[in-house]
Subunit: 208 residues, 2 copies
């Protein structure tokens, strides 16, 4: 059976079987409007992260949050991002750092800390989508500078940075960023990620 779910928005995921609109319409903008995120909306997104699953319910996640109206904190967080990211992330309504406790209270390494943080951040992003807030995550930042700026203790990894806001007209972006903003989203085929019996052998469920 071939059943392509056609794109309505150019950034919609092109899926063979339909997926929920909150997941299908998610993408990572680089241009945000000046519209602030209401505290209640931000609170909901953090609640969603809070209620994510984690190994042994360890909840090894934490977030540093800077809202745009809080100029000192916003500048402090923007300042730890790579220059290339600062160019566009300065239009975000909220900036965050995603942190993970990679050491357990007993001093042992927590193997799943980053994985659990990923679960929580995706919950935050999905709740954002339910409120028309879009997220763009960044790996490009200075973790040491962040640790210094926000007094992040040893044993807590600075994992990701997240820009949040309402998407704006890509025409506002410089040429190189605008092209990326308007290109369709792409992913590996399912047969390259869903296996049966042996790594690399596609699962029957993803074949036609």
């Amino acid at each position: 059976m071939t059943l392509i779910q056609e794109r309505v928005h150019p950034k919609d995921a092109e899926t063979r079987h339909p997926i929920h609109a909150l997941l299908r319409q998610r993408w990572s903008p680089r241009a945000f409007t000046a519209h602030p995120i209401a505290p209640e909306t931000l609170h909901r997104m953090l609640e969603a992260a809070r209620w994510a699953p984690s190994a042994g319910n360890g909840q090894p996640w934490a977030f540093i949050i800077a809202t745009r109206d809080d100029e000192t904190e916003f500048a402090r967080l923007l300042g730890v991002l790579n220059e290339k990211n600062q160019e566009w992330a300065n239009s975000a309504a909220v900036l965050m750092l995603g942190l993970a406790a990679t050491r357990r209270p007993d001093g042992k390494e927590h193997r799943l800390a980053l994985y659990d943080l990923g679960l929580a951040v995706e919950n935050l992003i999905v709740e954002g989508m339910a409120n028309d807030v879009y997220a763009h995550q960044m790996a490009g930042f200075d973790a040491d500078a962040a640790r210094q700026a926000f007094a992040i203790p040893d044993g807590i990894a600075v994992v990701s940075a997240i820009a949040l806001g309402y998407p704006a007209d890509p025409a506002l972006l410089p040429d190189d960023l605008r092209a990326r903003e308007q290109s369709p989203r792409a992913r590996k085929p399912l047969a390259e990620i869903a296996f049966r019996g042996r790594f690399g052998v596609p699962a029957p469920v993803v074949a036609d």
Copy 2:
């Protein structure tokens, strides 16, 4: 303002601001009905994982999948779980392993591989909820045995195991598991995970 979203189901998250039902109603059952997951539903869940965000769109995730009707593969995957998990996970409709490519094509370590897998798995779980399928993740399994059983190459980490299905009556469970199945879900307060300016200092948005 105090606005508690009351529980309808005993496993509903008790949130101060409402979050989306797909996130609020998610929990991790240990008792599943005999009802199989339709291939189309499983396909949707994998599509949802596929369209998750990742650092540089690297998509470092993969899944080994065993459906209950595929007795050999189901037994093989069940066999790598810890005994305690096997007790209840044998009732799942589908078992999966979540894998992450921790080494990049150029041989360098991929710092965000587990984080990205977490993003993808939470997408899979949310899409499951949209189809009434519940997930229970496990950290308790033998990664070396899994590597052997499914010919998982070096540079690919075996990160998590996932049981999927439709929740069944907890009365079917042994006493100790039944108690956990019926206890309310709990999380750290938001003030312990959402900070402003300095690690450990609660963000104003999470205060009343």
